[in-house]
């Protein structure tokens, strides 16, 4: 059977559309804006999306099992307050503060997983609930105050401060690259390989593909769902630690914005390479795509208040590519 040219073009657009678009975007900006195509700017772009991308990898894992983690933004907020407050109020060493943050993220994931699996609350509702709870708890632990070196605590000046060692996580360099960018690349590779090449990733995808069939094929569906949420919460807490370090302080409600950003990156990732399902590489591309576009448009003096509109439009476009019948692959044969 011969494949018509129109079908080939459509299939090509479907499979590589977003990558081609990204390349075209970079070339266009680089040609028209001298400041865009510099290595320095590339690093700036990557740094701007690193934390979003790391959290989005967690969202990707929750989407893989057919779930949805709405609590990642609140997890970031909570971890930011926890890591900064533990250092400023209680003089915790940076290592302890970081571990505390990661354990908290895993713990929130565990709660989400148990709500979904044991209490059988639907994913969206369970994580909507914990989203509220942990956004609230983030405020409670500091009595609604932002945390910074020299803040007051119980009417007294707080004893501790944010150390340089901790701030290095957000502002330092490794081999000339910002630490968050290095963490993003490492975790991006690990999560992508885990999802696409490991037994765990295959089983997670089976749960998302058909949980009943997976169970009858011996897959421990409940445990895997809990695992997915724990990983999602942990990755969100990595993002929270890096954010706290970059800001050097604990700002109230700083994580909230990450929910929509990360969900968008993961969903845009569906369209990358025609995967039509959550995938680690796609999520990274999705995050970078948004970063490149915003960076270029900002240089073109497009006002900042249009950013959400632009992100939304990209998301809708990518979703149409993933789900619309217009781009459906006929068949594998």
């Amino acid at each position: 059977m011969t494949i018509s040219l129109a079908d080939r073009i459509r299939d090509g657009v479907y499979r590589s559309g977003l990558l081609v678009l990204l390349a075209a975007l970079i070339v266009t900006f680089a040609v028209s804006l001298p400041a865009f195509g510099t290595p320095r700017n590339a690093v700036i772009i990557l740094q701007s999306v690193a934390i979003t991308a790391i959290i989005a990898l967690g969202v990707t894992i929750s989407l893989t099992v057919g779930g949805f983690d709405l609590s990642v933004g609140s997890t970031v907020s909570f971890v930011v307050m926890l890591t900064t407050a533990s250092q400023v109020y209680f003089e915790a060493p940076p290592v302890v503060a970081v571990l505390l943050g990661l354990v908290a993220g895993a713990g929130i994931g565990l709660i989400n997983g148990l709500l979904v699996v044991v209490a059988r609350v639907p994913d969206l509702l369970a994580t909507l609930g914990t989203m509220f709870v942990f956004a609230g708890l983030a405020l409670v632990i500091t009595a609604g105050q932002s945390v910074s070196s020299g803040a007051t605590f119980d009417g007294q000046p707080a004893p501790g401060r944010i150390t340089e060692g901790f701030a290095w996580l957000g502002r330092g360099d490794v081999l000339g690259l910002p630490v968050p960018v290095v963490v993003m690349v490492v975790l991006g590779v690990v999560v992508t390989v885990m999802l696409s090449r490991s037994r765990l990733g295959r089983l997670l995808a089976a749960v998302g593909g058909n949980a009943d069939a997976a169970r009858l094929a011996g897959v421990r569906v409940g445990r895997l769902k809990v695992t997915a949420y724990v990983l999602s919460g942990t990755l969100a807490s990595v993002g929270g630690v890096l954010l706290a370090a970059r800001l050097g302080r604990g700002d109230v409600g700083v994580g909230g914005a990450y929910l929509l950003e990360t969900v968008a990156a993961a969903l845009i990732g569906f369209a990358v390479l025609g995967a039509n399902r959550p995938n680690g590489f796609g999520t990274l591309v999705g995050a970078v795509f948004v970063g490149v576009l915003l960076n270029g448009l900002t240089m073109l003096d497009v006002p900042y208040y249009t950013q959400d509109l632009i992100k939304g439009a990209i998301l809708v476009g990518a979703l149409v590519m993933s789900f619309s019948a217009l781009f459906k692959r006929k068949d594998a044969s």
């Binding site: 390989v193 490991s198 037994r199 058909n210 069939a213 094929a217 011996g218 421990r220 594998a332 044969s333």
Partner: protein
């Protein structure tokens, strides 16, 4: 009164009804029987106006009518009470609101019907006698009703709408014996008053003394009709059809020691205990009508459902799977009845569908080796004769028979020794059916347990056949000593006992 004329209903390539003529007369109870997939539900849906037939027509009082939407059927006085009554009710609304739903939808109660008005209208529909006798509160949420209560309300609602034809789909499936008897009396009474009742049930013994006429469907056609008095055993023969090809001479296999033993298992808590033994080198067939308890038993054996009662041994040691993974670890593979829901990952390729149950052999340095998975799958595609574009073709691109082969291949890939197959030949073409049958009889499988409601399928593969009815073992055959009349009698035994 209501008649179907040469009704043909196709869904894509499948023909569910291949030209059905049916006459429903005023004041009669018409029974409708047929095996799974015979076309009963489709015919129901056509008569109740849920489906517009591909060809042919439906007539009311001799006039052709265009149905296809429930409101049209309602206008012509045809009402369906579905088997799952909850699907006909809005659980969040009150009983009263549900009763007046049609009237509300048509604006017959005015634009702003108050609660008082709704209650009054609902009371008129349900009747005080029913509300009191069945203890139904009009303000209760419909979701809290018991099946029998909901059923009674739906019948009242239908009659109030002026239904002249009442279609009852498996009305006794969830009723107690007393409730069942009451329903039968009510049906007789309605018929005496001139309502036509179409009655569908797989408890064939129910038709005795209830139905004036029973029509049997098979493969989308009316194959037989019986007038009262009804003999259940003859209905069974009509449903199953003649057993056309008896098994060819097969080498008699020497069954070895017991591999899997079931002691005192029950399909339901109120079902009788079942003992079965599966021996090495044997294919044990289980047959029985719908509702005989086959699926319930098999799902317990493979750990898909918790054991209701009893114990099992596998290879002589205790076997109590709490999760399918436990059964798989002991070498059991399960081919479920509903392949699409319980076995397929349609958007996955053949490789990943095949290796799902056992991925460890494909580990290389902690990661999965695509090459190893692919070559293992390619070998199975060849040996099972799976027709596909290649190992990377999507499962959804295969025909039903080939998909079923992939499900079987999954268990061979996992190294399963004992296969448990529930209705493995449903929606499977004859070629694939032969291949799968040959495979489970081959030395690749140590022993197999096959359940099917079609005795002919069982005869093809089994070395020994157990007949199940009402959850109990009622007989055992060897394929070469089959007696069709005796089989038909066995299949309806328990339903007769239920009513006695």
């Amino acid at each position: 009164m209501l008649s179907a004329r040469s009704v043909v209903q196709r869904f894509g390539a499948t023909t569910a009804l291949a030209g059905v003529d049916l006459e429903v007369r005023a004041g009669e109870v018409l029974g409708l029987v047929g095996a799974n997939g015979a076309g009963k539900s489709t015919l129901m849906a056509v008569l109740a106006g849920l489906l517009a037939p591909t060809e042919g027509r439906v007539e009311v009082d001799g006039e052709p009518v265009v149905l296809g939407i429930p409101a049209a059927a309602d206008r012509h006085g045809i009402a369906l009470v579905p088997q799952h009554v909850e699907t006909a009710l809005v659980p969040e609304l009150s009983v009263a609101e549900n009763l007046v739903l049609f009237a509300l939808a048509r604006g017959e109660l005015g634009p702003l019907p108050g609660r008082r008005r709704i209650r009054a209208a609902a009371r008129a529909i349900a009747g005080d006698d029913l509300l009191q006798r069945a203890g139904i509160r009009l303000d209760a949420r419909a979701g809290t009703l018991r099946t029998a209560q909901a059923q009674q309300l739906l019948i009242r609602r239908a009659l109030h709408r002026g239904a002249r034809v009442l279609i009852l789909d498996e009305p006794t499936a969830a009723l107690s014996v007393t409730e069942q008897r009451e329903l039968h009396e009510q049906v007789r009474r309605l018929a005496a008053e001139g309502t036509a009742v179409v009655y569908i049930t797989h408890h064939l013994a129910e038709f005795v003394g209830l139905a004036d006429r029973v029509v049997a469907l098979r493969e989308g056609r009316v194959v037989d009709a019986f007038d009262a008095p009804i003999e259940p055993a003859r209905l069974v023969s009509a449903i199953l059809g003649p057993i056309e090809h008896l098994p060819e001479e097969r080498p008699v296999r020497e069954a070895g020691e017991v591999v899997l033993a079931l002691r005192g298992l029950r399909s339901r808590a109120d079902a009788p205990p079942v003992d079965l033994q599966l021996r090495r080198g044997e294919v044990l067939g289980i047959t029985g009508l719908l509702g005989a308890g086959k699926t319930e038993l098999l799902r317990q054996v493979v750990g898909a459902e918790p054991l209701v009662d009893g114990t099992m041994t596998l290879d002589g040691t205790a076997f109590a799977p709490r999760h399918p993974a436990d059964a798989i670890a002991r070498g059991i593979g399960f081919v479920p009845e509903d392949r699409r829901r319980d076995a397929e990952l349609p958007e996955w390729d053949l490789v990943r569908n095949t290796t799902l149950a056992e991925l460890r052999p494909h580990h290389r340095f902690g990661l999965l080796s695509a090459r190893s998975e692919r070559s293992a799958t390619a070998a199975l595609i060849r040996s099972l004769g799976i027709v596909a574009a290649g190992p990377r073709a999507l499962l959804s691109s295969l025909s039903g028979g080939n998909r079923q082969k992939v499900v079987v291949a999954r268990w061979l890939a996992a190294g399963s020794r004992v296969l448990v197959l529930d209705e493995p030949f449903r929606g499977v073409d004859l070629g694939a059916r032969g291949d799968i049958g040959a495979l489970i009889r081959s030395s690749a499988v140590e022993a197999a347990l096959v359940a099917s409601s079609d005795p002919e399928e069982i005869l093809e593969v089994a070395d020994r056949i157990v007949v199940l009815a009402g959850g109990a073992v009622v007989g055992e055959f060897r394929p070469d000593e089959l007696d069709e009349a005796r089989l038909a009698e066995l299949l309806v035994t328990s339903t007769a006992k239920d009513l006695a």
